[in-house]
């Protein structure tokens, strides 16, 4: 049997994982500094928790788990009825399947907050980095198992949260060293105002879907779509006017205010963007180079957003957005806890990985993991080498000894394949002198040192 893994899933090799851990550890340390707390939820949720939350397409893409022990059930007729329903359409069939795999981190988070509302101090800031599963058709950059990384604050309407999330984005992309990052921000309230002014209040969703494509299909394409979706020429002209204005964030907000400020929702949207930017300005670090830009065409697909929305791209690589998020007003209401506002952003771990790989900006990692391998000469020399390898490990240095006194060329072949940066030779001569020879595998240089000297210089290199 030739082994394989399911389509759209991946094994992560040691070398890939060291890079992934670099991203995840960087994000984790930033989240922690901003007071966010870790949360992990089970891979399986009740099917009823997930169904109906992601639209009809989502329901179809949820991986459902077959109930165990079906063959032991005595209710064969009932099972057969439910089975027939699955064949009919993919809805919840609790006696065939009652559990499903996590589809995103947002719904499980809302479910958690509702379940633990009495234990949680609000505002509650949590981050969560876990895999999710979707039965989407796999293609380049799209997997059936992929990682999401979310940080959210629930229970506080303050725009200081939005401002801090902008800082988290900037600080993260700064630490990861990703260049040419732009964080677009907008308010759903401005889109609502736009719909109102274009006499398309009922067409808000359709309008945003069309606007969202501006980057991809240009204004002509969007214009055509808006017309198809029923907006009149007057309305389209208004949108065009606003979209085409150029200027600084302040200039754009002032220009938009002249038009959108005629509605309550427009006034509120302008005010919340101004306040968010003012707070961000007080927090922001001069070192951070990513740009924050208000953009009226930013819509974000998900319908649950109600306030400020944001999205991150980099122009350094051809790639979709590497992050996004926004304010939502009633997510926990789905689980019986209404009136809780929240705001959150998400990092596209897989895409960030691809960007960093393409730009070759991962810190030069030690592919071997271990810094040094000791050759194994057997006998007394092995005993000597065993002492040394433990001394290195006690000093915090990742070290290995070849596990057998194999032929030298076999040991060296292994060392080369693993790409250890250093080799330690502790042979007869070294044993006599109570020293070791440290060989730099890149330069080929070799010097005899005391064990303490070797530890000292390897510790410097390990940092």
């Amino acid at each position: 049997m030739k082994p394989s893994i399911p389509q759209g899933t991946r094994d992560f090799s040691p070398a890939e994982l060291r890079k992934r851990y670099f991203i995840l550890d960087t994000l984790r340390s930033i989240f922690e500094r901003y007071g966010f707390q870790p949360l992990e939820t089970p891979a399986m949720e009740q099917l009823t928790t997930l169904m109906g939350k992601y639209g009809e397409e989502g329901d179809r893409l949820i991986f459902k788990i077959l109930n165990n022990g079906l063959h032991e059930s005595k209710k064969k007729d009932e099972l057969n009825n439910e089975w027939a329903k699955i064949l009919d359409k993919p809805f919840s069939t609790p006696i065939v399947t009652e559990r499903a795999l996590r589809y995103d981190l947002t719904i499980p988070f809302a479910r958690y907050v509702a379940m633990h509302q009495n234990d949680i101090a609000l505002p509650f800031r949590r981050y969560q980095m876990q895999p999710v599963w979707r039965a989407d058709r796999p293609q380049k950059g799209r997997y059936r198992e992929f990682w999401q990384c979310d940080c959210d604050v629930v229970g506080s309407p303050s725009l200081l949260n939005e401002a801090e999330l902008l800082c988290i984005y900037q600080s993260a992309f700064h630490k990861l060293n990703i260049p040419s990052v732009c964080i677009k921000i907008n308010s759903r309230k401005l889109l609502a105002a736009l719909a109102e002014l274009c006499k398309g209040v009922d067409k808000l969703t359709e309008m945003t879907v069309a606007l969202d494509k501006l980057d991809k299909i240009g204004w002509d394409g969007v214009c055509k779509e808006l017309a198809q979706r029923g907006l009149d020429q007057d309305g389209i002209a208004k949108i065009e006017h606003l979209i085409q204005i150029k200027g600084t964030n302040e200039e754009l907000l002032a220009a938009w205010e002249l038009v959108l400020g005629k509605t309550d929702s427009g006034t509120a949207g302008i005010a919340e963007l101004r306040k968010t930017l003012a707070l961000w300005d007080q927090l922001a670090d001069k070192e951070w180079t990513s740009e924050i830009r208000v953009d009226l065409s930013l819509a974000r697909g998900l319908n649950y957003y109600t306030g400020v929305i944001m999205e991150v791209t980099t122009s350094a690589v051809k790639m979709g957005s590497i992050g996004g998020g926004g304010r939502y007003d009633d997510l926990t209401g789905l689980f019986g806890l209404p009136g809780i506002t929240g705001v959150g952003v998400s990092f596209g771990i897989d895409r960030i990985y691809d960007v960093m790989e393409e730009l070759a900006i991962f810190p030069v990692a030690n592919a071997a993991g271990s810094l040094v391998m000791l050759l194994n000469f057997g006998g007394k020399e092995e005993a000597y080498a065993l002492q040394i390898v433990q001394q290195l490990r006690n000093a915090g240095i990742a070290a290995e000894i070849y596990p057998e006194a194999a032929k030298m060329d076999k040991q060296m072949k292994y060392a080369n394949k693993r790409s250890f940066p250093y080799i330690i030779i502790a042979g007869e001569l070294e044993l006599q002198k109570g020293q070791i020879s440290l060989k730099d595998m890149r330069s080929g240089q070799q010097e005899m040192l005391s064990i303490n000297e070797a530890i000292k210089s390897l510790k410097k290199l390990a940092v």
Copy 2:
């Protein structure tokens, strides 16, 4: 709708996760020092990869994923046939279900090694810490989603690997500060010798199953079971004699040798235990307090072990084993790569957590996550506080500011509920002086400091 999670699964709260991360980070750093490399495999495997690897009971307990798009399939008759088979018995039915959730980390590792045999440098040392899923009946301490943590070396027959794994166990339980740890070791070869001498070669498995219960049911119980399983009185007497011998590891091995040394397998088993212990003795650190004890009654359930086996318990808490492992000779053979030997051990993360919780030996963690919260007075004071909170974060201190200028008692109530160790007050007076007041929430003491002084003393506390 009252939200819930599937039976046998758990949400992990921030406070629980900080403790779990402490365990996982400790183990990770030890694995890395011993040259082990991280590996992660997908949650889903092909059903064919898993079925038939864990016995009939295992096949039943594997969580199977329903294929998506069944309602779109045109082969309704075929689907119905397969469905009828699922109702009959739980075997592989590729058109209803072709994927399943990971059941352990060993089979995916073997599958990975076989798939990547051309890229991997042997010996390959990997560690893997991921959840696994089993449809077992949930009970206290037994979950349907739980974490496994394995480290294995494949491709090296050297007993130095066994010795290093013993060191990893000792070093880990030392770092985790778990007291009264005993690591029992035995060799499957000695059990084979025992079976041979008792004229029960064909009864090896049954004999080991009975012996494994010695701790639970005592010698009288084991004796009865051995008789039921068909061993004669003479054989049972031989086993009793060997089991009851007391002494040091060397004394035990010498005494066993007199009896078991009459068979090839017994001679080999004694030799491999002696060699393993001799190598371990050269590596071991005087600081490690856990005991290593040879124990002829140690059998370990899994049939794939062929050489040295080990198991870890602590007498400090009433609890089953917290780790175990051993040498296996042909795991990758299942996936078309025969002749690769391996040895590995596993850490029972959930039980280790429970032991540490019961003994209250987790390092006094900061339950809040953040070290300090700044009160929010709004206006100019807020602007001042925003500068300070960013300075703290830049200095690596986890800090939060209450996101609104809410009433003081509301802010303090939140601070108390979160149990921040420190509060910073940056009000009118502090702003005038360019200082801050740092309040120790435990002692209630408060002092006015410059921001740099505050950073200095908080940094000391953060370590």
